[in-house]
Symmetry: C2
Subunit: 341 residues, 2 copies
DNA sequence: CTGTTAGCGCATTCAA
DNA sequence: TTGAATGCGCTAACAG
């Protein structure tokens, strides 16, 4: 609760002197005074009032982390370990760089803009924002912005993004499925954003099918519902339809594992009756039996790189590559049936 | 970027009038002026400067969420779905109540105190804080504090806490194991804090063993290492020792599932060679095969209740029960061997 | 109903 | 080397 003024009074010096000590301007204060003042600062457990800081410096050392998602009832995006791994990595980096993290899960771009202005945020990390909204946000906010896993729809702005070779990921999956004798698949997206990574992954699948003279209809792209109950219902209809496809390509391990478990509990054999693939290569794909064939990506690294890039922007350092696409790698396990025999 | 002054100038009124419009004090402003001013506020996309707000009101509408944990290398607490479920629920509640959430993962109580002072936080949620540190924090911070899953070591303060019937949970597990013919167990804690829920769960086990005339040595309580690699090493030594116990009682599904998967990958049959139990009843226990027998708890509800309690404290409403202990329930699945035959 | 003003805590400029 | 004064944006008390 003590202010610079309080400290100054106690030390018998002026507020300026205290400020100078606080900021380590040793050349402006005599060693003796400095020591004396520092002692009082420590004993009082002085902490600067960030409100005053914001006012006077017009910035706050706050990094806003926006998970661009509709709030769901009874379930949080964070429950997908993919998100929480990113978030955990960012929290660590932000704190280590001496910044503060404000977390907000919303899909209201106006709220994002308000937030960033009101708090004089120094920068924002934006996760899974649809391209059209990226445009609005980049127009409305003039602090550094780093996106994660976004695809942009215009060339008007220079966007900074940490993404993934989504298309290549889809290709890898499709290539593997085709090699295993599959001729049809259904793509289960975790996200209704039409311009995110999910469609890219699907396009990758389509390309490979085309290369092999096979067809993959647009209608095979199927966004899953936001909440668990509706997804269960959806899985049931798949079972009832007796799987018109030989493989279900999920856009996350989280969903793949959930579905696989549902199927097992309902007497469906994976991969005998239906093949399943995932995406992310996190714990979920390794935990289930059969373990899920999936695409590996380093989600912690995504978070870390995002903050690194943001820090460079904050320090006006040059960012060599504003759109980093992390590599993917196929991880073959046991959830895909070999149809060639 | 526009301030109240800017708006006032544009509208040809005084800053006070603008402030009155902003605060909905309709009785102090004529409808005509109000409309005119409101229009400009909207068109300018005005957002208040929270720095000035902090300064003048001496509070910030920030809720600090502290996950009291040493930062781990290459892994975040958040990767345990238990933490992320709590976090997700809190984020939602905080935002819905018109507050802001600042997230910090640290085990440095001084950092916590500094943070809360610097930002004039209105309240804090503190997760998994050792009792001795709760004491220090309660002494140093005079805003409302709500703990999650903490056990306190003194009666000097009134602590607010959302906890769990940890001891009962341990009892349930032990009762079931004993009923299944088990006469020894090893308790694998996820946490080195000696005064948290893990020891309570273990005490619960001890009590039940005692009731049955069995002994459960203190040395059966075994905290697991913080990082995945060391845990793998630990699991290996268990395998090499050929399991001196018939059951491994884990203090989280996350760890139980991890261990179970390790064992399976190394040719150990669960539950034939070793029985395993978990704690939490989240996705992890349902995903693996065999599914893990565990103790159910509602982690989202923990987060929600914590914020509710904090809001009551903030509004000076009465909190009927300052230490809510959520109920537990045994969920029997297939990871425990029946030793009675 | 509307305007003026002081002061919140800090950094910064200028003066001593 | 130190001190005094100013202003950041806002609220609230007071004056008109």
């Amino acid at each position: 609760m003590s202010t610079i003024k309080d400290i100054a009074k106690k030390a018998g010096v002026s507020p300026t002197t205290v400020a100078n000590v606080l900021h380590g301007k040793t050349n402006k204060v005599s060693p003796a005074t400095s020591k004396k003042v520092q002692a009082i600062i420590d004993s009082e457990n002085y902490a600067p009032n960030m409100g005053a800081m914001i006012l006077v410096r017009n910035n706050s050392r706050i990094i806003g982390v926006i998970m661009f998602m509709k709030p769901r009832q009874g379930e949080s995006v964070l429950e997908d370990p993919f998100s929480s791994a990113i978030l955990g990595a960012m929290e660590q980096e932000i704190r280590m760089n001496g910044y503060y993290m404000m977390l907000c899960i919303t899909s209201d771009e106006n709220e994002v803009v308000r937030l960033s202005k009101a708090w004089k945020m120094e920068g924002l990390i934006l996760v899974w924002v649809p391209g059209t909204i990226c445009r609005i946000i980049n127009q409305s906010i003039d602090t550094p912005l780093v996106y994660i896993d976004c695809y942009f729809t215009d060339e008007d702005h220079l966007y900074h993004n940490i993404g993934l070779q989504d298309r290549e990921g889809g290709q890898e999956i499709a290539r593997y499925l085709v090699a295993m004798g599959h001729r049809s698949l259904m793509f289960l997206a975790n996200n209704v954003n039409v311009l995110g990574g999910d469609p890219q992954r699907f396009f990758g699948c389509q390309e490979v099918f085309l290369e092999h003279g096979l067809q993959l209809e647009d209608s095979s792209f199927c966004p899953l519902p936001d909440n668990r109950k509706d997804r269960s219902r959806f899985y049931r209809t798949l079972v009832e339809q007796n799987f018109p496809y030989t493989a279900l390509v999920f856009s996350s391990d989280y969903l793949a594992a959930e579905a696989l478990t549902y199927f097992k509990e309902h007497g469906i054999e994976v991969p005998d009756q239906i093949s399943i693939t995932g995406f992310d290569d996190n714990m979920y794909s390794r935990l289930v039996t059969p373990r899920i064939t999936t695409i590996h990506q380093d989600s912690r690294e995504k978070g870390r790189l995002a903050i690194c890039m943001l820090m460079k922007l904050l320090h006006n350092e040059e960012v060599e590559n504003p759109n980093i696409l992390l590599p993917v790698k196929l991880v073959i396990r046991e959830s895909v049936k070999d149809l060639r025999s």
